[in-house]
Symmetry: C2
Subunit: 630 residues, 2 copies
């Protein structure tokens, strides 16, 4: 077999073999020294990675941020000993760092890879996510960057039980991502015993082929077979993603544990480690490098700043416009000025209004169909390639992708999520379509930004702000059309709020966001008829919340607050308000918290807001009750 | 073809044909009268459903809760006009209710089906969920009930883009669910245009077969072909689930919309409806019933009450035991006394300790491998069949199934979820494995119960309580071993708390749950050395929270509260405390809220708790700072 392979780089097979031994030895040494980690899951994939890194991966290790580099994603993030041993083997991490840093406090060599390391694109460790993100990176490479980098993803066999793996392969074949190569380390053993499919390579083959992949199968410990498969995979000439099924042995190289159950996620005790290293031929400090990319390759799309400061859509106060529609218009305007804005949607673009962008910039719109996990994962992949992705679906259906959203934050990805059709406001479709947990879910994400505008003008401003917002940002839009509240030149900084009514005689504060802002205003009008002055705050920035304005309102209205939200009572607007207020010193609060507490059904918007107790009448009543208490 | 089919019931083809017409007419009438709904998605599946309901579905419509009935799940829940028209057609819903109730406020005929209707097992409408839940029902039928009911699931073609569909088929074939029949209505058109695969029946066939299903393909408008396929599917003789691919036409029966884009989710205007109904032959009130089940069939497992009151494991104060281990022991003890307790896990049962139950009761343990969506969906399916399911995985990975958890609440399912390895406490594995959003996520679920015990004794008590808790309940367990705090005879009601330290001179209240309870106790000890008395509350019931005890603490300690939680600051323990306190009248609070605010890395438990600022030292400092403020 070896004679047939065309070595694409200088690392010969003898060196690759020695490199593979070193990767195993270092995986053992690092995990034993740390007292935790996954040596056996690293050892099964060592041969494949030695050949890949030594002979195929086009990567300038001294320029990890080069646009031309291939991408290497460990979807099986628990094989971090292998990944970090590769970093030692290519000379970018010292043996000392590997031995004293792995899994230690303050070290960048964390238990599972994260982008605190410059060679890591995305955090992995929640299985079934690396491949979907790889699809996003490959989408960018093939359809936007148009650079011939390849995206190599090392998958575990266990993680193919995750539906997200099949969403990923489905989209990879739909978008003809011949630049994507998934290598499945079929080592037969999961955490607690055999995997579902064991070494049934035929079953894996049927599934991957059925989902549109070109499948190559290899003995994952035969370097020449591996090399042939990688050579074929790297051709990029076809219109299909490639899946390499590597039949491997868990713990390969140390006879005491090879293919044994009970050794998942366990470092070897020191005496075993000594025997294993001896069996593998001892420690070494080989440095291996593979081929370099064409450093001149540059993305086809060059980011640029807007050519004008006033390019966003403008709306006239009083006009009735749904914020979801304003989103579509704002996104399209952004797309005109930012060549690197990209939009994705989950087969509801005519509802979210992402279709406006799709029509204007079809080359930068990616339909993810009904696959919300892949929707978010693709956005993360675009973020890896420094695009500005906006991903939209019904707000309720982002719950489908919560693990991906959580991990996007760990990945320090910059992704913008836009959920339409929030709350009971949607009306007749019923509770399955009503996002009533999304604010809680999004607020709890590390470093997130959560925005919920009440009108078209603020929506447009916030969409523009999101383009410059790092981390996970979320915009909640509303189904129905409501009057524009703000003047064209009003500003809406993230972390701000708008005081829509205020005066020196304010007796109570009404706080809303989105649809409830309109009900707060109407309630204030009713109260005013009885001479009760109510301050009204539009808390469009739910996270971070404007604690200064909230504190001022508390001081002005003797702590009397009515918070009305189209969301369950836990973790949403009410929590945003109380968290902001209670973060500084003693506070005396008289809070009426109106939220959706019972399971809603169908009905009109008005019926459902009333039934939930969050409409104008309930806000007015709650304010009067607070005042009656004193 | 018709001559070859063996009619299993009295409804002949002519009647079935007329029934199908009526289903179309009523789908149109109901949605047009409501002004919203999905007539065209109903019309494509009307022929298949007419034959199924008229000739194959074994269902006693007058006894919807009969254990012997087949199950009919509309995974494409938006085809509710079709489902409700069937209910009219079998005579359990009047034409008047259909015409005046559909999608109206207060009606049980909601926009998408929910179990407020006695014939609906689970709420659908979030696509890709009905089939996974059907897998759970079929698991119960085949492996527990051992009654020959069949589970018929109507799927849309668009929803096959959801990975959860493939998780479902994978488990259906793994568990040889020959009692499961998925009917895919391949009508080629999604919401905003063509589906990914269109009418490529071969592509669907390859995928379903690769995932282990027996595939039957039919012209979905040829009643005889349909009948043959349903007859074959119903044999239950094989060891595979069946997938029927029905090639259909969206809007079938009304030439103006047949196979036209732009008609998804749109009722026909009245004039069009008139023309459509005329083309379909006019209104009718046919009543059709199919075969009855064997009413004598009874589940193999009969629920029974515990034979003794003291069967739970008992622990001695001071012993160090991880709450995750106590979970495994408590669950096993429950399993001994409750023959209808069932356990499921996502391939981490040796970490969650569900393996203890699996070893003791292998027939009632179901391995879901790494497929958390299916894990929760299966639990919902077991709930449909009145089992008491406990589903466990790492707490972080329940984020993967949030949409299913949310929908379980809409389904009024009784499911118990148990998440281990919560928070930074887990140590070296790093942030991908750390649940830091789970309390927020679970609290925001409608009607949920959220529990987070600090020791083995309370864990065992709460596991027992969960068996009798309706709705979605969640138990958060901890990786490390900590001392047992409570006496064997202490009680831990849901909604309660434990005051571990209190006295007449309490100056500050320290509130924790789980691991932070131990740090609160240690902080109280340190403060006591300086003569500062601290009240310590173990808020093991995060939702509902014990507002009485919290109010008493606020009153006793002048509003000084330190809340420490191993969770992000949003929506977790801190919110539970402030929500409980602010729900009644004016409150003056001095709150120090210690939570995980920055992105953690790897390290030891002690290092990470300290770095997050939630350990004994920070609790002590926060208490002193509150006291210094006055």
């Amino acid at each position: 077999m070896e004679s047939n392979s065309r070595p694409p780089a200088g690392t010969d097979f003898d060196t690759a073999r020695q490199f593979a031994r070193q990767l195993r030895v270092d995986s053992i040494r690092s995990s034993t020294s740390a007292g935790s980690g996954h040596p056996t899951s690293s050892m099964s994939a060592a041969d494949v990675l030695a050949v890949l890194v030594g002979r195929h991966l086009r990567y300038d290790w001294d320029r990890p941020h080069s646009d031309a580099n291939d991408h290497l994603i460990f979807s099986k993030g628990h094989a971090s000993p292998l990944l970090y041993s590769i970093y030692k083997g290519v000379g970018v991490v010292s043996d000392e760092e590997l031995m004293t840093g792995y899994r230690r406090f303050g070290s960048r060599l964390e238990g599972h890879p994260t982008p605190v390391l410059p060679w890591v694109d995305v955090a992995t460790g929640s299985l079934g996510q690396g491949l979907p993100v790889g699809v996003g990176v490959a989408l960018a490479g093939k359809h936007l960057d148009r650079i011939p980098y390849r995206v190599w993803v090392l998958c575990g066999d266990s993680e193919t039980a995750e539906g997200s793996i099949w969403e990923a392969l489905d989209k990879a074949s739909y978008y003809q991502l011949s630049n994507l190569i998934a290598i499945v380390d079929v080592n037969r053993l999961g955490q607690r015993g055999p995997t579902e499919l064991g070494w049934d390579i035929d079953a894996y083959t049927r599934r991957a082929e059925a989902f549109g992949a070109r499948v190559l199968t290899v003995d994952g410990h035969d370097l020449a077979e591996i090399d042939d498969a990688l050579t074929t995979a790297a051709d990029g000439g076809g219109a299909k993603p490639t899946v390499i099924l590597a039949r491997t042995v868990k713990g390969r190289g140390f006879s005491e544990v090879e293919d044994h159950e009970g050794w998942h996620g366990k470092p070897f005790p020191k005496d075993m480690a000594v025997r294993a290293i001896a069996e593998l031929g001892g420690e070494s400090n080989l440095v291996v490098r593979g081929p370099l990319p064409d450093a001149a390759a540059a993305p086809a799309i060059t980011p640029s700043e807007p050519s004008t400061s006033s390019f966003m859509p403008r709306y006239s106060p009083g006009d009735k416009i749904a914020t979801r529609k304003a989103y579509g218009e704002a996104l399209t305007a952004l797309g005109d000025q930012y060549p690197n804005v990209v939009a994705l949607d989950g087969e509801v673009s005519n509802s979210t209004y992402a279709e406006q962008f799709a029509k204007a910039y079809p080359g930068r719109y990616f339909e993810m169909f009904i696959a919300e996990q892949q929707l978010v994962a693709s956005a993360v992949g675009f973020s890896v390639r420094h695009y500005i992705p906006f991903a939209s679906t019904f707000a309720a259906f982002f719950t489908r992708a919560y693990d991906f959203i959580r991990m996007a934050a760990v990945s320090q990805a910059n992704v913008r999520l836009v959920g339409s059709h929030a709350g009971v406001e949607i009306g007749a479709d019923g509770p399955s379509q009503m996002a009533l947990e999304d604010l809680a879910m999004m607020r709890a994400v590390q470093g997130s930004t959560v925005l919920y505008p009440s009108d078209a003008t603020s929506t447009a401003a916030l969409v523009r702000a999101m383009a410059d917002t790092s981390g996970v940002s979320y915009l909640r839009t509303t189904r129905g059309a409501y009057p524009v509240l703000y003047d064209e030149d009003d500003t809406f900084p993230v972390g701000g709020s708008k005081v829509l009514r205020s005066g020196s005689a304010d007796a109570v504060t009404l706080i809303g966001a989105g649809v409830t802002v309109h009900h707060c205003l109407a309630a204030a009008d009713r109260l005013a008829q009885d001479g009760i002055q109510a301050r009204v705050i539009d808390l469009y920035s739910v996270k971070p919340a404007d604690s200064r304005t909230l504190h001022a309102a508390v001081a002005a209205t003797q702590g009397r607050l009515v918070v009305a939200e189209d969301h369950h009572p836990e973790g949403g607007l009410g929590s945003a308000v109380t968290d902001a207020l209670l973060s500084e010193g003693a506070q005396t609060l008289r809070l009426a918290h109106l939220a959706v507490r019972e399971l809603p059904g169908s009905g009109t918007t008005e019926e459902l807001l009333a039934a939930a107790g969050i409409d104008v009448r309930h806000i007015e009543s709650a304010a009067r009750a607070l005042l009656a208490e004193g």
